[in-house]
């Protein structure tokens, strides 16, 4: 899509909620979806005189993420206050990190058209999340009032800022997918984009190829799905190119993605009116990270996607393509591991995962962790195929039913009477019936039209409501028509 005359420069800022029990600076629960304002205390309500105390696990997780993203871990790090008034921010300042973030200078590698590309990570810092606003009307702008739920306020976040190394919306998507996968593997975040535990802002500019000067930078806020990220960037790049072509000025601004209209819109904020007045939070003390601390975390770092991919190829003999798709999501890889532990035909498992399972999940926009088909159920279904209780074709029906209802495959087969017919006599009777009813096709086959047999098999299967063993049907037909 990118016009060869232009170069696109993209940087992403990703916020991810950490999977801690408690908030970053108080001991309230971080649990998602509680009754409004039930996970709040004087601290996270910003009441007078109440002081922040840092959650150690947040630092552990930040170090872990930093290591997984090849960052340098700071020896000295501190917290700063970022000031602005907004109803989702109870103290009117966010405790964040300004000039001494915990991690710097990392990178991750993305796969673009079969080639590896390294995207730099400028920094990772720790900060507190803002609270949730609920609007009376359809949107913030049309509501006559809003409601504040402080449950999310103070949930720990990592802000991961990429270098402006990304050159296309596709690369942006690949970066975000890879980042999500790495964060999931380290288990610092559950990265549920639907629940907002992984959120993305993008900075984008377009300049003529070879130009030394960057184009006008626009920030697009809240790109909270892979699709939105890619679509919004595509739109924005197109808008910039159009403006450049027509010699129209672009303004540096913050925009938002309108999913319904498929366009970005100016947020018309008074940019110049912001002055965050960052200064070190005097209620907190610095974090000094010894190399022993870092090494301790490095030792306990879980297997990362690349390592797991290599293991799947080595241990299970999976092709590189299968291994890379299955390991792209930690949950999927774990699902696979669980299946293979029960059923060692790795390639068969892989085929079902990469085919029906991923297709069904995508169609329903469902996370594998919420999938009703548990590994043991899938394996049970594979065994039913192996012992010829059901055919591969029937298995597709069973799979669909399992996915919808979560019932066990054996029960589905029983309930719906899907047991494969393997009785020689029963099949023979149906074969005779079909030969009788289709003299034309029989003739065709006998005169050498091989294709006609397919039609006849199909007719027998239809007659048996798909339950006849297809191999037996085939064999019997050929024998009778010889």
């Amino acid at each position: 899509m990118t016009d060869s005359k232009y170069e696109v420069v993209i940087g992403l800022e990703v916020h991810t909620e950490l999977k801690t029990n408690t908030k970053i600076f108080c001991s309230c629960s971080t649990e998602f979806g509680g009754e409004p304002n039930t996970h709040v205390c004087p601290g996270c309500l910003g009441m007078p005189g109440v002081l922040p105390v840092l959650n150690k696990r947040v630092v552990d997780f930040a170090i872990m993420a930093g290591l997984a993203l090849n960052c340098q871990i700071a020896e000295f790090s501190k917290f700063d206050r970022k000031h602005y008034f907004y109803p989702d921010l109870p103290t009117s300042y966010q405790i964040s990190q300004f000039d001494q973030p915990i991690c710097k200078n990392g990178y991750l590698e993305i796969d673009i058209n079969g080639e590896q590309k390294r995207i730099g990570i400028n920094r990772i810092h720790m900060e507190e999340d803002a609270s949730k606003l609920v609007h009376g009307g359809a949107s913030i702008a049309t509501s006559s009032y809003s409601l504040v739920d402080y449950n999310r306020g103070g949930v720990p976040l990592l802000e991961i800022v990429s270098e402006p190394d990304i050159r296309s919306p596709e690369e942006a998507r690949a970066y975000l997918e890879k980042l999500k996968s790495i964060l999931e593997y380290t288990e610092v975040s559950d990265c549920k984009m639907q629940e907002g535990s992984l959120r993305c802002d993008a900075n984008v500019s377009v300049m003529p190829k070879g130009s030394k000067e960057f184009g006008t930078r626009v920030e697009i806020k809240n790109l909270n799905s892979f699709r939105a990220l890619k679509k919004a960037l595509e739109y924005e790049v197109m808008r910039h190119i159009q403006a450049l072509e027509e010699g129209e000025p672009l303004i540096q601004e913050t925009r938002t993605w309108d999913e319904n209209k498929g366009i970005t819109l100016s947020m018309r904020t008074k940019e110049e009116a912001h002055d965050y007045r960052y200064f070190p939070d005097p209620d907190l003390v610095p974090v000094i990270i010894s190399r022993e601390w870092v090494e301790e975390i490095r030792r306990n770092l879980p297997e990362l996607p690349q390592a797991r991919k290599e293991r799947f190829m080595r241990e299970y003999g999976l092709p590189a393509y299968d291994a890379s798709i299955i390991t792209s999501s930690k949950a999927l890889a774990e699902y696979f591991d669980a299946c293979v532990a029960l059923y060692p035909e790795a390639k068969t498992v892989s085929n079902w995962l990469m085919g029906d399972l991923i297709r069904s999940l995508n169609a329903e926009d469902q996370d594998i962790r919420d999938c009703r088909i548990r590994p043991e159920m899938l394996v049970e279904m594979l065994r039913l195929i192996d012992n010829k209780t059901i055919s591969g074709k029937i298995a597709k029906t069973v799979f669909e039913e399992m996915f919808q209802s979560g019932k066990k495959p054996a029960d589905i087969v029983k309930e719906k009477g899907l047991v494969q017919i393997t009785d020689q006599g029963e099949i023979e009777a149906m074969v005779d019936q079909v030969i009788e009813a289709n003299p034309k096709s029989v003739e065709d086959f006998k005169s050498g039209k091989e294709k006609a047999i397919g039609f006849l098999v199909g007719q027998v299967m239809k007659l048996s409501k798909g339950k006849a063993n297809p191999n037996m049907v085939n064999e019997l037909l050929r024998k009778k028509l010889k």
Partner: protein, 485 residues
């Protein structure tokens, strides 16, 4: 002598010997409050009498059962109104918090609760601690018990006035050295981190500490012992054990090296203040201390650093008062921005607003390095001055204030009136200091300030004790004269 005039240690002795009951004592102090509060106006909240008496009775029961009680048990006391008290209105003497009831106790309030003192009320202060005369209180100014036409000092003026007027046996507050000097009582600002700031609704983070206001040095040691200690809810709280401060009060200061910062003399509004302080120093010399002049070369920059840090931190800390969850709120506003502006414009008084704007300016882009960063660097130099001085000297002695209490309505400008000239440096450097009375000038008390290195409270207390016990300065009582309103 009436009960309400007595010290904690005197009263404790009488309580455990069952010569008096806590109930009797509490009633006596409450009666005293009834008698003088209209004149002094130390309090912004008075605990219901029945509730106070019920607390006292609880202690009496313990004593009658033969249970051991601590030195503060049954002693009527007050908190400055920036110390959060669970279920009890805590206002910081501001319209902003005029109806605010915290659902939590400050660390020090919890400690005093454990010590079983009898809570009798909350005392007045400059709004959010911004001021040095208690005149910026939203409610009313407090009067100096020595002369009701004068200010009690500030920002914690109500606490000092209440103790001076015998309306409470002791009080807790922050920023109390200057009021203690003006009101002729004892107060201590502990080392930064020695006492938890949890629940102190201050206007700064790095400058304030809660400390005792008491009638004598022994009481000061007892109260400090009760409120000091590590608090996991305050990240800046010092770890480690708390000494039994009262056990260090030997009165022996023989061989102690005392430094007189030369930069602290010569700026007095009143030369008699200097004389009073120097004659106290002389007494300490007679008691065996070696006294020498010492230089704290960065003294001229301390106030600048303080004003910048105090204003910057205030602009940040006070940003949370925006009307959404608690505190003053204007109704009938069209949008959130209007809510913020009206709430803050109407809820804060002029001194607070000025400090917030000043602090916002100091932190704004383009200014932060000129002012704020510079102030933090200056603080390092000020600290180093003290560190060097304490290599040679055990303690430093100065006036608490350059003058005595001034008339109401005359020195509203807390930044320029110079009252904090000597009490500010210990705040900036985080070191402990005590103020105790060392004489009268024209019938008004003069404060003697003794500063020490970080966590040397016991040394300071012992030097103050020696002076108080053997220096011959009597425990004097104010007359509560003057016109009042």
């Amino acid at each position: 002598m009436s009960l309400y005039e007595k010290t904690i240690h005197e009263l404790h002795g009488m309580l455990i010997k069952k010569e008096i009951s806590a109930e009797e004592l509490t009633k006596d102090v409450l009666a005293r409050m009834d008698q003088v509060e209209d004149k002094v106006k130390s309090f912004v909240f008075r605990e219901e009498k029945e509730k106070a008496i019920a607390q006292a009775k609880g202690v009496d029961e313990k004593i009658s059962r033969g249970e051991k009680v601590g030195p503060l048990a049954g002693i009527p006391m007050a908190y400055n109104d920036n110390i959060c008290t669970k279920g009890i209105r805590t206002t910081c003497s501001s319209k902003m918090l005029a109806d605010f009831v915290p659902p939590y106790d400050a660390f020090v309030a919890e400690k005093i609760g454990e010590a079983q003192s009898v809570f009798i009320g909350k005392t007045n202060m400059d709004e959010f601690g911004i001021g040095s005369s208690t005149e910026s209180s939203f409610f009313y100014p407090t009067r100096n018990p020595w002369n009701l036409n004068l200010v009690p000092g500030g920002s914690g003026g109500g606490a000092a006035a209440a103790v001076a007027a015998d309306e409470a046996v002791f009080a807790l507050g922050s920023d109390i050295l200057n009021p203690a000097a003006f009101c002729g009582v004892v107060a201590m600002k502990p080392t930064y981190g020695r006492v938890s700031r949890y629940g102190l609704a201050g206007s700064t983070s790095s400058l304030e500490q809660v400390g005792p206001v008491t009638k004598d040095v022994t009481d000061c040691a007892l109260v400090l012992g009760a409120i000091a200690g590590h608090d996991p809810k305050d990240s800046t709280s010092a770890p480690g054990d708390v000494p039994r401060y009262d056990e260090f009060l030997t009165g022996d200061i023989k061989g102690m090296h005392i430094g007189i910062p030369k930069e602290y003399f010569g700026n007095e509004f009143d030369p008699e203040v200097k004389d009073a302080v120097l004659s106290a120093v002389k007494k300490m010399e007679e008691l065996g201390a070696h006294v020498d002049e010492v230089s704290l070369p960065h003294t001229p920059y301390v106030m600048s650093a303080y004003h910048v840090i105090a204003a910057a931190e205030a602009s940040s800390v006070l940003a949370r008062y925006e009307g959404v969850r608690y505190g003053y709120r204007r109704e009938d506003v069209p949008d959130i921005e209007a809510l913020y502006r009206t709430t803050r414009t109407e809820g804060f008084g002029p001194a607070v607003k000025r400090r917030i704007i000043l602090g916002t300016y100091f932190l704004s882009s383009g200014q932060i390095d000129v002012y704020y960063k510079k102030a933090l660097q200056t603080r390092t130099l000020v600290k180093e001055d003290f560190d060097r001085a304490f290599e040679k000297y055990d303690l430093l002695v100065s006036p608490t204030c350059p003058g005595t209490a001034f008339p109401l309505g005359t020195q509203a400008d807390d930044i320029l009136n110079g009252t904090g000239l000597y009490t500010v440096p210990p705040c900036v450097a985080g070191i402990p200091a005590i103020s105790l009375p060392c004489g009268l000038v024209q019938g008004l008390p003069v404060g003697l300030q003794i500063m020490g290195p970080a966590f040397a409270e016991e040394k300071i207390l012992n030097a103050a004790f020696a002076y108080q016990q053997r220096g011959g300065f009597p425990r004097i009582k104010p007359s509560l004269s003057g016109e009042g309103k």
